[in-house]
């Protein structure tokens, strides 16, 4: 069955520390993976997608098909990175039938 697992509900770090939010997936086809972010009192929005292979706000994520992982990383966390982060799996081309993980709350302390 298709599934997205984010093992950490909360990740708490100090400003300037490296961050890694873990995401593992289970999918029988060729996956499309995304990271969505929700800042306080804002709507859920796309942070990055594996197919773009880009860095957004200093965050990167590499799809590792062997480990079925799509971990989100940033070398130096900032306080404004504090938010809820959701890893999501897209079920097929052209659609956004997204399967979400339960989310990880990132708290960056000064």
């Amino acid at each position: 069955a298709q599934r997205v697992t984010q093992p950490e509900k909360l990740l708490s770090v100090f400003k300037g520390a490296p961050v890694e939010l873990k995401c593992n997936y289970s999918y029988s086809g060729s996956p499309e993976l995304f990271w969505y972010v929700q800042y306080s009192r804002q709507r859920l929005q796309l942070l990055l997608r594996h197919i773009s292979r880009e860095s957004i706000k200093g965050f990167t994520a590499d799809l590792n098909k062997g480990e079925t992982s799509f971990h989100l990383k940033k070398p130096f966390a900032q306080e404004e990175d504090s938010a809820m982060y959701y890893c999501a799996l897209g079920e097929g081309g052209g659609y956004n039938k997204l399967i979400f993980g339960a989310g990880t709350r990132l708290a960056v302390h000064p």
């Binding site: 997608r49 959701y86 097929g92 081309g93 052209g94 659609y95 956004n96 039938k97 399967i99 979400f100």
Partner: protein, 115 residues
């Protein structure tokens, strides 16, 4: 410049009393989605519209229905809300691409409370 607008932001309804949640978009996207997110859980897709074609997820209860009278609007109807239907309901849109999953744009959600 809100692109996907959900009304109301908070909705309180009585057990068993039908309730309708609204979503509108200014993006002219052809696909619209409804997700349900219960406390501390992942958003879960209920159904989506591709233009006027309705696509229900296999495990979405019959209690949930949807209408899309035109491109801009989509409604979620809960025929007989139970206490277990209390959740945040998220509307999203996307522009269909034949090749890859395009970005989904979300509304701010409607938090439904059932009393």
């Amino acid at each position: 410049d809100a692109m996907v607008i959900q009304n109301p932001r908070y909705q309180v309804t009585q057990f068993g009393k039908p309730v309708t949640l609204s979503c509108s978009q200014t993006l002219n996207h052809n696909v619209m989605y409804w997700y349900q997110q219960k406390s501390s859980q992942a958003p879960k897709l209920l159904f989506h519209y591709y233009d006027k074609d309705f696509n229900n997820e296999a495990d979405t209860p019959d209690n949930f229905q949807s209408r899309r009278p035109n491109t801009s609007f989509c409604f979620l109807d809960i025929r007989s809300p139970g206490l277990g239907d209390a959740a945040m309901y998220l509307c999203a849109t996307s522009r269909d691409s034949a090749q890859v999953n395009t970005e989904a744009f979300f509304g701010q959600g409607t938090r439904l409370t059932v009393v």
